[in-house]
């Protein structure tokens, strides 16, 4: 999967560069080809080229195919997208798509008497487009770019004033964008993002529009395509942020100035630290792990965290690795508590030396300087954090992530690792409840998210685009099992996914992932037990492949099989019964599918 990113390319591509990059496309037969439908009312021309090039830059290993529609038939293009499953539909709107009189290629009149009618017609078009976008999103993710070009001079006001009609028109577009963005599979390009990289006055190419029907200057087309490609690629957000305390989370040194005298407010000229706290709190509430690595006296830090004016409160931070040991050691403790890989973590500190030490010990961590004496620099850092940690939708699973991690830590023995387990007594005391759900809903975003971001307990590291996942599950032999867990400490949410094929009672698992939060609870055993029971399978085969990070999965299979796993490792029901530990969970099995679907499978 792509890594999160926030910084735009140093400059826009030229069209010649984009043509060369697009022409170097790998053969169409290459596995994992990316199919993207580009829907726009104007001639896609160079936008087609730039989008292909930007997608190729992000995914050089994949063949990129851009599917276009007919010029001047935006609704028709979108309707075709309803019938075709693609990796993404990219909808690029401009004013003329809402009413041709808002463009320059038609002469329908700019009379003052027509202004109201134009606005009304634009609103009707947007209503129709909204329906089409929702329809397209049912089949594929949709990326939407709202109009980026300046309006032509049709309204009666001079250009430095806004007319009521213009503002009404913009309000309709905003309402359309808001409705689209509320859909889980629709991503609307940020207006501020395009404004930051492409000046409004340098976007429209009237000569090109009149000559060929293409409205953008090449720099704007390149910049817009870069944002569109990023939205199509949909990079995974980072998972955790480790922050320093003194001169970072607050101004001052708690151990020297005293816990009561560190600050993060306007009165002490330290408001930027308060804004940093405010963003970290929001990130924590969105499911990002926020931890602390600080050289400090733990008792002093506790005193600061006891202050009721702290914006980032204790409940939003886990763990607090506070000691006089090295920063690198503190960071190691945090990573261990989170059980996430360093490459999905950022470390923020105001000291370049501390950053260098952590970078040396954990090269995969993104180490970032907190510019303590530069409010503008701090604000830029906040924007960067939002880009790297932001997510289009905050799910219930995201919201409970930090609390469940804290509960896991409270219950876990100090030496517990991924392959040890809780004792039966602990599991029984926890009153663990497991819901195992057999279904084939490709729209289960959490299931696909788990498949695409889990590294450690992952059968083979295979990732899927939404299109590939939907195709995988549409096979008549397919099964999908998801597991959700809760105990007396609260829910963990959906934590495990198994998928594969069933044919003549042969169960083959080609996808198996489990969140690291759910390790050691014997959930994996419950899943296999359910699978064997559901399909009366004499054995299960696993499409196992060793990856650089799936050690916990390898160990689990080794324990189950009694030997090192290899590709297509087979576990008999008999062997499973002999090695399966006691399973004290309360289990609910849901099965929404009809037996006919498994006509070939023994019951």
């Amino acid at each position: 999967m792509a890594t999160p990113d926030s910084d735009p390319a140093p400059g826009p591509l030229t069209l010649a560069e984009a043509l060369r990059i697009a022409a170097a496309n790998p053969p169409a037969s290459t596995a994992g080809a990316m199919h993207v439908a580009l829907a726009c009312g104007f001639t896609p021309l160079h936008l087609h080229t730039f989008l292909c090039a930007q997608l190729r830059l992000r995914r050089p290993e994949r063949h990129v195919r851009i599917i276009g529609g007919l010029y001047d038939d935006l609704p028709g293009t979108l309707e075709r997208c309803l019938r075709e499953r693609v990796d993404a539909v990219v909808l690029v709107l401009e004013w003329a798509d809402l009413d041709p009189r808002l463009g320059v290629r038609r002469l329908g009149g700019w009379s003052p008497s027509l202004a109201g009618e134009i606005v009304e017609h634009a609103a009707e078009t947007l209503t129709r487009l909204e329906r089409l976008v929702r329809g397209a999103a049912a089949a594929s993710p949709v990326v939407v770019s709202l109009p980026t070009l300046p309006l032509p001079p049709l309204f009666s006001t001079p250009g430095w004033l806004s007319s009521a009609h213009e503002l009404q028109l913009r309000a309709h577009v905003s309402a359309f964008g808001a409705a689209a963005a509320s859909h889980a599979r629709v991503r609307v390009i940020g207006t501020q993002a395009i404004e930051a990289v492409s000046p409004a006055a340098d976007r429209f190419d009237v000569k090109s529009m009149l000559f060929s029907g293409f409205p953008y200057r090449t720099a704007h087309a390149s910049r817009l395509a870069e944002l569109l490609a990023r939205a199509v690629d949909n990079p995974l957000p980072k998972k955790g942020l480790i922050t320093d305390l003194d001169h970072t989370l607050w101004r001052g040194i708690a151990g020297e100035d005293g816990p009561a005298h560190v600050s993060w407010d306007l009165e002490h000229q330290s408001q930027a630290h308060g804004l940093y706290q405010q963003l970290l709190r929001a990130l924590s509430e969105e499911g990002v792990f926020v931890g602390v690595a600080s050289k400090n006296d733990p008792a002093v830090v506790d005193e600061v965290f006891a202050r009721d004016d702290l914006v980032l409160t204790r409940e939003h931070v886990f763990p607090l690795a506070v000691s006089w040991g090295s920063k690198a050691q503190a960071v190691s403790r945090v990573l261990e508590a989170w059980n996430v890989h360093a490459d999905s973590v950022m470390f923020v500190d105001d000291s370049p030396i501390e950053l260098a030490e952590v970078a040396a010990a954990h090269p995969a961590i993104d180490c970032v300087l907190f510019p303590a004496h530069d409010p503008r620099g701090i604000y830029d850092l906040l924007l960067r954090l939002r880009d790297l940690f932001g997510r289009a939708v905050v799910s219930e699973d995201d919201r409970i992530r930090v609390a469940s991690l804290r509960h896991r830590d409270a219950e876990a023995p100090a030496s517990l690792d991924a392959t040890d387990g809780y004792s039966e007594a602990v599991l029984e005391r926890a009153q663990a409840e497991l819901t195992l759900d057999f279904h084939l809903d490709a729209g289960d975003a959490r299931a696909l998210e788990l498949v695409n971001k889990t590294n450690q307990f992952n059968l083979n590291g295979r990732r899927y685009t939404e299109r590939e996942w939907a195709e995988h599950l549409s096979d008549r032999r397919a099964f999908l099992l998801t597991a959700s867990y809760r105990d007396r400490f609260g829910p963990l949410g959906k934590v495990a996914v198994l998928a594969g094929r069933v044919e003549d009672a042969n169960v083959h698992v080609d996808t198996w992932v489990m969140s690291c939060r759910a390790f050691a609870r014997r959930i994996e055993h419950q899943c296999l037990k359910a699978l064997i029971g559901r399909f009366a399978a004499p054995a299960i085969t696993f499409g196992y492949r060793e990856t650089p990070r799936n050690g916990p999965m390898t160990q689990t299979l080794r324990d189950l099989l009694g030997e090192a796993p290899e590709g297509n490792a087979a576990l008999t029901a008999e062997r499973f019964a002999s090695v399966c530990p006691s399973l004290p969970h309360r289990v609910t099995v849901k099965d929404e599918r009809s037996d006919e679907r498994y006509a070939g499978a023994a019951r």
């Binding site: 069209l15 043509l19 022409a23 000569k207 000559f211 090449t218």
Partner: protein, 79 residues
């Protein structure tokens, strides 16, 4: 080959990547199957980018072969 001609060959190579250099020197809509109106628009934009010229609308119809484009650029002396 002059500098202008060499740069123009690169421009044509970007727009018509399937053409060998020898074919580019004699390229025209008649000899290149992919030289349609969209290719003309792409060629025009890459030309403007590469040579920093602004081709007037009335000159566009003139740019119908490699040779004619080269002549046009030399005449413009903007290179």
């Amino acid at each position: 080959m002059s500098d202008t001609q060499a740069r123009l060959v690169k421009v044509f190579g970007a727009v018509f990547p399937e053409l060998a250099e020898g074919e580019i020197l004699h390229a025209s809509p008649e000899s290149v199957a992919g030289w349609d109106s969209l290719a003309s628009a792409t060629l025009l934009t890459v030309l403007e980018e590469e040579f920093g010229v602004d081709v007037a609308a009335e000159d566009v119809d003139e740019l119908v072969s490699f040779e004619r484009v080269l002549e046009y650029l030399r005449r413009r002396s903007a290179v």
